[in-house]
């Protein structure tokens, strides 16, 4: 009797496995609109400097495209004719939570594509899941080159050039603009972005400015730790001339405040790869004379640059949110533009309402115009974008009573990034062949 029930149970079980496998639906997009999740830090130390401006940048451009209110070449309404319905989600809580959230976004809320992600940790952990769930995912800000150099992804793209570009451009800028750097150290966060940034900066410095020495005690505090007294002491005790940092979230603001009270910026040259948000947020408290980057032609570096798209973006953003767009506003907008360009192309090639595969093939290797420069998906088998990266020196504009940057220098993509098919470390080790800046 018992045996029989068990047998029947097993039969049903086998049956249910079968149906379970066959039930899996193939991904397809809805008819007249596309649902996209935009993920950025909405809470925590990274929300103010990066998450919220990024979210706003995306929102502004999405709304404008839906209404057909963008200047050329994005004047047509919609994404390949489709309206984009955005869901804004929070990136905080750690990688494991992000993976769980991503699954919820795709499987529970049914989004067709996901756009965003600021932390390199998020990107590295999301990409495999995007592959598993076969969902188009456009990464906006994160910088670790491992994303496309360790693996090939079909469903993941990144519209932001990776950390090698930022690091090489930084070294080039130091070579070109600062003449007294003999030794350097760094303070970077203890995760993929911080570790990679320091590693590549160090190699680039050794290749570009031979004779300089790196400290043997670079600092790697934990992300969001917010308190740097001991690290500042360590850096101050050393005799390195220049301190490199890839801090980007609230950490850069905390560090700058704590360090400036201790005369840090009078004693050291400071190069901040991604801390431009603090220039705006801290105003006069941000030390003048700091080398500042925005990881592209973004934010404060292009605030006064002419160009229809750029001026439209700055004005519309100020009108809607009351402040200047920051680096991440540009980065998120750039991802939206990539999606628009790819979907327009896909629908032109295949007729209305392209499916995920058609969008992917349109986006692969695509060249498109961003707000203040051109971008092309040249690396990572056509999934990793490259673009120019610039740096400048902070100053206070007394006339306009606002922060500004001087000596802005933009380095084109081929000078700062490896050519397609070459790994960053090999390219750096070989002395950056092809870089002629």
């Amino acid at each position: 009797m018992r045996k029989k029930t068990l047998k029947n149970g097993l039969k049903m079980l086998a049956l249910s496995v079968f149906t379970g496998v066959s039930v899996l639906a193939s991904p397809s997009l809805a008819a007249d609109s596309i649902k996209v999740a935009v993920v950025s830090f909405l809470t925590g130390p990274a929300a103010g400097p990066f998450g919220v401006p990024g979210r706003n940048g995306a929102e502004l451009v999405i709304d404008a495209i839906n209404e057909g209110a963008m200047p050329a070449p994005y004047g047509s309404a919609g994404f390949g004719g489709l309206k984009l319905e955005a869901i804004f989600a929070d990136e905080s809580g750690g990688n494991a939570k992000q993976v769980a959230e991503y699954r919820n976004l795709v499987e529970k809320q049914g989004v067709d594509a996901v756009l965003g992600y600021i932390s390199s940790g998020s990107c590295l952990s999301i990409a495999p899941v995007a592959e598993e769930l076969k969902t188009l995912t456009v990464m906006s800000v994160c910088g670790t080159p491992r994303l496309f150099e360790d693996s090939d992804w079909k469903y993941t793209f990144r519209t932001q050039a990776h950390a090698v570009g930022d690091s090489v451009a930084a070294a080039l800028y130091i070579r070109d603009q600062l003449d007294d750097v003999k030794s350097y150290n760094g303070i970077n966060q203890n995760y993929a972005w911080g570790q990679d940034s320091w590693k590549f900066f160090d190699i680039a410095m050794q290749k570009l400015i031979p004779g300089t020495t790196a400290s043997d005690n670079p600092q790697f505090p934990q992300i969001f730790s917010g308190q740097y007294g001991t690290e500042i002491s360590t850096l101050l005790l050393e005799d390195s001339d220049l301190i490199h940092s890839s801090f980007w979230d609230g950490d850069i603001e905390a560090f700058v405040l704590q360090a400036s009270v201790r005369g840090f910026f009078q004693k050291k040259r400071f190069i901040s790869v991604a801390g431009a948000s603090a220039v705006d947020n801290l105003g006069k408290r941000f030390p003048e004379g700091t080398v500042i980057g925005t990881r592209g032609e973004f934010g404060i570096l292009v605030r006064d640059r002419e160009g229809e798209l750029n001026e439209w973006f700055i004005n519309a953003y100020r009108e809607r949110y009351g402040v200047y767009p920051l680096e991440s506003s540009y980065q998120y907008a750039q991802s939206v533009l990539a999606l628009k360009a790819a979907m327009d192309k896909a629908s032109a090639d295949n007729g209305a309402a392209p499916d995920t595969d058609q969008i992917i093939s349109a986006m692969t290797g695509l060249d498109f115009t961003s707000l203040a420069g051109d971008v092309s998906f040249a690396l990572g088998k056509g999934h990793q974008a490259i673009h120019a990266v610039g740096y400048g020196i902070t100053a206070w504009d007394d006339e306009k009573d606002k922060p500004t940057v001087t000596n802005v220098k933009i380095y084109p993509a081929h000078c700062i990034l490896p050519p397609a098919g070459q790994l960053s470390e090999d390219w750096l080790a070989a002395g950056m062949p092809g870089s002629d800046c």
Binding site: L42, T43, G44, P45, A47, G48, V52, N217, Q219, F220, F224, S225, G226, Q227, G229, T230, E231, S233, T234, L236, L237, G250, D251, E253, A254, L257, Q258, V261, R262, G263, F264, K267, R285
Partner: protein, 298 residues
């Protein structure tokens, strides 16, 4: 030499900060036998309310030194309001539960306090740098230091002295010592143990809040700041001996200096070393290095 001096100073200032936070935890444990996870919540509330008040005062044009007044006021306010509410409404009903259940209840409280912060203060970080900027910097051991962090040493000494004085030189202290030694005897000789518990908890909460409030000018006050400090102050309290004030002092000094040495010399051991010491102390001397005298009843 210069490095040693700097490490020592960094360690001392970090230790002072840890001591101020931990002493509240250890007092609560000593008297009430409650290991209060919600202490991290008091810390965070102290930091937030001080940072908020300082920011507001700066916007309203108050002078920078006024921040110190606000730090004191906000930690007392947080300690009094949260301490009273939590002791009266929640802990009071749990005293006859197992100690681990009480720990868990305080964990629940901690989660609640964390989110109340988000609801009240929002999700963006606060910077209350005015008091730190106001005090400026001074050169010590060849490098500039912010005076504000150095005043932590003074505050810690003050707190230590106040605790010693209150426990050793006042009638209140005698009562407290009796309750710590034996709760039942205290009841028998007519001590109002309930009142002792309430005010102990409020005092402990205030000290936790003071730790957060005083440190807030030197960091970005952001969601989640209470999480790490709990385990750190647990480490301090366990190393020194749960319930012992001199223990908290020694524990804070050990953790502070170890961390400073680690950050300067072996950054990868920063967190690891603290908990290894905590585990080692528990293994060798479970009652801590400076365990208070206990009435043994076995």
């Amino acid at each position: 030499m210069q490095t040693t001096f700097t490490i020592l100073l960094d360690g001392l200032s970090y230790a002072s900060y840890l001591f101020i936070v931990s002493v509240g935890l250890t007092i609560i444990f000593g008297v009430m036998k409650i290991l209060n996870v919600a202490h991290g919540g008091f810390y965070a509330w102290g930091a937030y309310s001080a940072a908020y008040a300082i920011g507001l005062a700066a916007d309203l044009g108050f002078p920078d030194w006024f921040g110190f007044v606000l730090i004191g006021l906000s930690s007392m306010g947080v300690g009094l309001v949260l301490g009273l509410l939590i002791e009266r409404l929640i802990l009071r009903r749990l005293y006859d539960h197992e100690e681990v259940i009480i720990i868990l209840a305080t964990f629940g409280l901690f989660l609640v306090l964390e989110d109340l912060i988000l609801l009240v203060f929002g999700v963006n970080p606060y910077f209350a740098y005015q008091p730190m900027v106001f005090l400026g910097s001074v050169e010590l051991g060849g490098i500039l230091r912010d005076v504000y962090s150095l005043t932590l040493l003074g505050l810690a000494a003050l707190v230590a002295f106040a605790c010693w004085y209150a426990l050793d030189r006042t009638k209140w202290g005698k009562i407290l010592t009796t309750v710590i030694y034996d709760r039942e005897i205290s009841l028998a000789i007519g001590i109002n143990v309930n009142a002792v518990f309430v005010w102990t908890f409020v005092a402990g909460a205030t000290l936790g809040a003071l730790g957060g409030a005083y440190i807030s000018p030197t960091l970005s006050v952001a969601p989640g700041i209470g999480i790490d400090i709990i385990v750190l102050s647990f480490a301090v309290v366990v190393i020194g001996g749960m319930g012992s004030i001199p223990g908290a002092l020694i524990g804070a000094l050990m953790v502070g200096i170890l961390r400073a040495v680690a950050v300067h010399k072996f950054p990868e051991f920063e967190l690891f070393v603290i908990f290894v010491v905590m585990a080692a102390v528990l293994m060798v001397r479970p009652e801590g290095l400076f365990a208070p005298v206990k009435a043994r009843r076995i």
